[in-house]
C-alpha cells in the first residue's frame, strides 16, 4: 500500500463526462496494481471540499504511470476530472483484492461491463490479450458512453470478442447486457464470468449465474459501495455476504471489491 502525490501526466476526454487520467507512479506501485484493484484519489491542496478520497479502478499500467477512467457524477469525481494536466493528485493504493487470477488462462472468460463498470473490466482485457476466448459484453445507456473500445484490440488484431448493447439502441442491439450474458453462457456453459456495473445489472448477472447452477458458480462481481477510507478502518463500505442463515458483513474495500457472485446478498 502506497500513499503518494502523483502528477497528472496527461488527460483525455473519452465522453461528455468521462475522462482518462494518466498519473505518475513508481515501479512498486505498478507491480502491485493487478487487475481489479483500485486507488483512493484526492486532489493535492489541503482544501476540505470534497473531503474524502474517492475510489477508482486501476485501468492500465505502463512504465512509470497508471491510468484511471473517471466518470464525473458528483462533486468528488467532477473535481478530479477538472484538474489540468500537471496538477497533483494524492494516491492511496493499490487497494482491494482484484479479480481472481487465472492460472491456466485456458478457461473461456466472459467479461460483463455496464456503463463505467468498464473501468474495472478493462485491466483484465489488457492483461489477457495474449490469451484466447475472452468475450466482452458491454452495455451502456447510449453509444456516446461506450469508451475505450478502440483500445481493446491490438494493432495485430488480438483482443476479446466484443458485443455491445445499449439502452437506446444507438450502438449494437437495444437491451440489457444480461441478455447477452444469457446467450453467451448457452454457447460457453463452462465459462468464468467477471462483471462490474450498476447494482441492478449486478443483480441481473447474479440471477443468470444462479440459474446456471454450476458448483461454485464461476462468477465474480466487482462492487462499488460508498467508501470513506478504502483500507478497512471505517466500516462504511460493508456488504452483506454469505448465504442465509449464515450471513455476515464484509468490507468491500479489503475483502473485495471482487466477490464470488454467490456470496453477495443484495438488498431488494
Amino acid at each position: 500500500m502506497y500513499l503518494f502525490e502523483a502528477e497528472i501526466i496527461e488527460k483525455w476526454q473519452l465522453a461528455a463526462d468521462i475522462f482518462r487520467l494518466r498519473l505518475r507512479a513508481g515501479e512498486e506501485f505498478i507491480a502491485a496494481g493487478r487487475p481489479g484493484r483500485f486507488v483512493m484519489l484526492a486532489p493535492v491542496g489541503g482544501l476540505y471540499d470534497p473531503l474524502l478520497r474517492r475510489p477508482f479502478g486501476i485501468v492500465r499500467c505502463g512504465d512509470g504511470w497508471f491510468e484511471v477512467v473517471i466518470k464525473a457524477v458528483g462533486k468528488g469525481s467532477r473535481n478530479l476530472v477538472g484538474l489540468p494536466a500537471g496538477a497533483g493528485i494524492t494516491v492511496h493504493g493499490p487497494l482491494g483484492n482484484g479479480w481472481p487470477q487465472d492460472e491456466s488462462g485456458e478457461q473461456p472468460l466472459i467479461l460483463v461491463a455496464g456503463g463505467i463498470g468498464i473501468a474495472a473490466i478493462a485491466p483484465v482485457i489488457f492483461a489477457r490479450r495474449a490469451e484466447s476466448e475472452t468475450f466482452l459484453l458491454y452495455g451502456a445507456a447510449t453509444k456516446d458512453e461506450l469508451v475505450l473500445l478502440d483500445e481493446f484490440t491490438t494493432h495485430d488484431g488480438r483482443g476479446p470478442q466484443i458485443e455491445v448493447i445499449t439502452d437506446d439502441g444507438s450502438c449494437g442491439r437495444r437491451g440489457l447486457v444480461t441478455e447477452l450474458l444469457l446467450e453467451k453462457l448457452e454457447e460457453y456453459p463452462g465459462a468464468r464470468v467477471f462483471a462490474c456495473g450498476p447494482e441492478p445489472m449486478l443483480k441481473g448477472v447474479q440471477k443468470v449465474l444462479r440459474e446456471r447452477d454450476i458448483e461454485g458458480w464461476e462468477g465474480w462481481l466487482s462492487l462499488e459501495n460508498r467508501m470513506a477510507c478504502g483500507f478497512g478502518v471505517c466500516l462504511g463500505c460493508v456488504q452483506k455476504t454469505g448465504s442465509e442463515p449464515e450471513t455476515k458483513t464484509s468490507k468491500v474495500c479489503t475483502e473485495g471489491p471482487v466477490f464470488a457472485a454467490g456470496e453477495v446478498i443484495f438488498d431488494d
Binding site: 500500500m1 500513499l3 473531503l51 474524502l52 492511496h92 460508498r226 470513506a228 478502518v233 462504511g236 460493508v238
Partner: protein
C-alpha cells in the same frame, strides 16, 4: 527539541498528546503499514461491546460539506475477539492502548468495565456514553446529566483503570455534563463525539443513510468542538480534557491544546490520510520548537483572552 511527553493523568505518561479517535483507527494494526503506531500518544480502539455487533444495514456513510455522516451502528468484534486477537497485536506493536467501550444498558457497561479491569496492556478506558439506554426507552445516556452520572458511577465501581468519559456535543450545556460525570468518578473527559445530523437523497426522496440520521464529523465541526473544549477546560481547569473534532493538521491540534486540551484525538482525518496522526505529532513538534517552547505542557491552555 520540544519535549512532547506529558502526563495525561497522574501516572499515565504519554509520548505525546496525539491519540487516535475511536472508530476511525480500527484496532490499530490496519495503520501499521503506514507508520509506527507506537510513536503515538495512544491508540483509542474502535468502540467495544460485550458481544460482537453487526452494525446498521444500508448506506452507512455519506459526505457532507467539509464533513461526513456515519451510521456504522457501532459494529465491532466484541470483547472476546478483541482480547484474543487485537489486543496482543497492539501490545506487540508497542502501542499504548485506550479501550473505548459502550453498552445497551447500564449493566452491560458495568460488566465490560469489570472484564477489562486488570487486563494487561490497557492504559485506560474511554466510555462512550452517546448511546441509547435500551432499558430506559432509548433515552440517551449522553444527553442527560443524571443518567450519565449514574452510568459513569456504575462503571467506576467496576474498574481501577483510569476512566475517560467521552461526551456528546448534542447537549444544551456541555459544562453541566462534564461536571456530572467528573463528580461520578470520571478521571478525564474526551470531547466531542459526533453531532447528530441527517442527509437527504433528493433524487430518491429518501434519507441517504440507512439509519436515517448519523454522526457528523470532520473539519465542519471543529468550531463547535473548540468552543466546547474551551468551555469545559475553563470551568473545570483541573480535569484533563482530550480535544476531538475536525483535527486534520498540526495547526488544528495546536488550537485545541491552546484552548486547554491536554491531548487530542485524530478521527476522520485518518481516513483521508492514514499517516495524519503521525504527521500531526511531527508538526506539533516543529511548531513548538520554532516557538522555543521547551515542553508541550508549557503551551497547553495558554490562549490569551
Amino acid at each position: 527539541m520540544t519535549d512532547l511527553s506529558l502526563e495525561l493523568l497522574p501516572g499515565i505518561k504519554l509520548k505525546n498528546p496525539v491519540l487516535t479517535a475511536s472508530g476511525t483507527f480500527g484496532y490499530g494494526s490496519e495503520y501499521s503499514p503506514y507508520f509506527d503506531i507506537a510513536g503515538l500518544g495512544a491508540i483509542v480502539t474502535k468502540g467495544l461491546s460485550l458481544r460482537p455487533k453487526t452494525g446498521n444495514p444500508g448506506v452507512r456513510i455519506c459526505e457532507t460539506a467539509c464533513g461526513m455522516l456515519n451510521a456504522i451502528g457501532l459494529e465491532n468484534i466484541g470483547l472476546e475477539r478483541f482480547l484474543e486477537q487485537e489486543l496482543p497485536l497492539l501490545r506487540q506493536a508497542g502501542a499504548r492502548v485506550i479501550v473505548n467501550f459502550f453498552g445497551n444498558c447500564l449493566e452491560d457497561y458495568a460488566e465490560l468495565a469489570a472484564r477489562l479491569d486488570g487486563v494487561e496492556g490497557i492504559t485506560a478506558l474511554e466510555i462512550n456514553i452517546s448511546c441509547p439506554n435500551v432499558k430506559a426507552g432509548g433515552i440517551q445516556f449522553g444527553t442527560d446529566p443524571r443518567a450519565a452520572a449514574e452510568l459513569v458511577g456504575a462503571v467506576r465501581r467496576e474498574t481501577s483503570l483510569p476512566l475517560i468519559t467521552k461526551l456528546s456535543p448534542n447537549v444544551t450545556d456541555i459544562v453541566e455534563m462534564a461536571r456530572a460525570v467528573v463528580a461520578a468518578g470520571s478521571d478525564a473527559l474526551s470531547l466531542i463525539n459526533t453531532l447528530l445530523g441527517m442527509a437527504v437523497d433528493l433524487r430518491r426522496r429518501r434519507p441517504v443513510l440507512g439509519n436515517l440520521t448519523g454522526g457528523l464529523s470532520g473539519p465542519a465541526i471543529k468550531p463547535v468542538a473548540l468552543r466546547m473544549v474551551y468551555q469545559v477546560t475553563k470551568a473545570l481547569p483541573e480535569v484533563p480534557v482530550i480535544g476531538i473534532g475536525g483535527i486534520v493538521t498540526a495547526e488544528d491540534a495546536l488550537e485545541f491544546l491552546l484552548v486547554g486540551a491536554r491531548a487530542v484525538q485524530v478521527g476522520t482525518a485518518s481516513f483521508i490520510n492514514p499517516r495524519a496522526a503521525a504527521e500531526i505529532v511531527d508538526g506539533i513538534g516543529s511548531h513548538l520548537d520554532s516557538l522555543g517552547c521547551e515542553r508541550v505542557t508549557d503551551f497547553i491552555g495558554t490562549l490569551e483572552t
